[in-house]
Symmetry: C2
Subunit: 304 residues, 2 copies
């Protein structure tokens, strides 16, 4: 019986682990991948305070090393189900069952799909959700980036250095990305913009060949030849395996102490309902969730 099982080994989960060990809890982190966190797929992180500029994978390796050196055990398992039986939580994984007094869910979120014809069939054949992962396959080719937020523009900039042209297709008439990224995108020579536009269909037999674009203001529909489509239209939380209160998008609802609707179960990072999803906010959530788990498990008041 663990004091605490942490599900997910991204910034939130590893930070929770570091804090849990300091609180003296018997803790384990379950993570299905080698290195986790959406951030590990990010080329350059410039906004985790203390590191001016660092590769996402490298930052996560530092987190992992920090956690392991502090004494956190990280086990490679995929969690299938969490059952809340009051004082005992049963965590079912692909490698067996664990019992815990408390659980922190830090499973992050995954890229949302557009849900249009051709998308699922052509994933890995020209359709991608990660420029850092797949950009190099499109050297000197022409690609579309769908979206106008931080992820879309960040990855459009990464792609612009590899591919021939980047066409940003955005359903609105302005970007939502932070100013500094917008400015970089507007001044890039090989980035062009399709405003008020959506993709209706992705077409290709072996690989992506063309897309059908629709202008939402004029209703004009046209085909466009393209080699790749990178999609950044939001994220969906990885929270299907647990039955607790979530918002309509599936993000777990917590209070400021990361407490969920189930006593002894906490949520931290991208998988919870919050207005900002960053490495630093996830790490902070993890610390806070570990404190709450510690207080719950030991009954010791440790606040100030």
């Amino acid at each position: 019986m663990y004091d605490l099982v942490i599900i997910g080994g991204g910034p939130a989960g590893l930070s929770a682990g570091i804090y849990a060990i300091r609180y003296g809890l018997d803790v384990i982190v379950l993570e299905k991948n080698e290195i986790s966190g959406q951030i590990a797929l990010t080329e350059i992180v410039e906004n985790y305070p203390g590191f001016k500029s660092i590769n996402g994978m490298e930052l996560m390796e530092k987190f992992k090393e920090h956690a392991q050196d502090a004494g956190v055990t990280i086990q490679s398992s995929e969690v299938l189900n969490v059952k809340n039986e009051g004082k005992i939580k049963i965590v079912s994984t692909d490698s067996g069952e664990l019992e815990a007094k408390s659980v922190i869910i830090a499973t992050g979120a995954s890229p949302q799909h557009l849900g249009i014809p051709g998308e699922e069939e052509l994933i890995g054949k020209g359709v991608s959700y990660c420029a850092t992962c797949d950009g190099p396959f499109f050297t000197n080719l022409n690609v579309i980036v769908v979206g106008g937020g931080d992820s879309a523009i960040t990855d459009a900039l990464i792609l612009s250095k590899i591919v021939k042209t980047v066409s940003i297709v955005h359903r609105r008439d302005s970007l939502r990305a932070v100013k500094i990224m917008q400015e970089r995108a507007f001044s890039a020579k090989n980035i062009e913009f399709f405003w008020d536009t959506v993709i209706e269909k992705i077409i290709g037999s072996e690989t992506v060949e063309k897309v059908v674009l629709k202008n939402l203001k004029t209703d004009e529909v046209k085909e466009m030849k393209i080699d790749g489509v990178f999609i950044y239209v939001g994220i969906q939380p990885n929270t299907y395996f647990v039955d607790i209160d979530k918002n309509k998008s599936g993000f777990i609802i917590t209070n400021a102490r990361m407490e969920t609707s189930a006593e002894g179960i906490y949520a931290a990072g991208d998988c919870r309902e919050t207005s900002l999803r960053q490495v630093v906010t996830a790490a902070s959530d993890g610390a806070m969730a570990a404190l709450s788990a510690y207080e719950y498990v030991t009954g010791v008041w440790s606040g100030t």
Copy 2:
């Protein structure tokens, strides 16, 4: 007229600065000291994820360099007053007035005093609130540490390596510090504990000579010869200069977006009401406050 004035250059303020610049805001950080944050007075930080073990001052230098490289201006000023005139906030400093559309208060907190006879008179003459700052003056001498929380035990351990003996005087019969620190303290050879005990008086002419101790359970009162008294009985927020909703201890009340009771004024870090005060939580608060200020100033929705 600035888009945003950030008051305080500790982890919360500098993180807010880094984020504000990325959001394209015209921002300035006001800080009265060269390097700020209570953390800069901390010998070793082992719980800011990504840095296994780093000196507090060094960590803050990294934050400062990160902020400055990102383009944040840090001005040396002490803020005397913040006046909320609706759309305009007037920030009065010892070097003049600034106008801002929004303000983030990140002024942290300072050590609380015991409020007993002899304390104020003997500050700097044996009474201290910071082992890292003053510990070396007590080499091979005998000192008392007052308190049982993280700060008390962390600093007791630091002192134990410098002084002859450390006597931890704590008003309860158990420590509140995290488990790992408790274990280190219990196994230190030159640390002893006075449980259920308070200091009633500090006595000394030039420097601290003795204290009067009282056992709260037996009511026994006794004098004890001592060379120094290090006090860790909590913190008080530096929030006197602004008239917004605070709790009874003076900590600013915010919601999860760091919004205070005054529109356009945000609070982040140790100065706000929260259950955990760490570098990582302060940095996260700063990022969140910058987002809220950005949304307020530009009217642009940037959430997910």
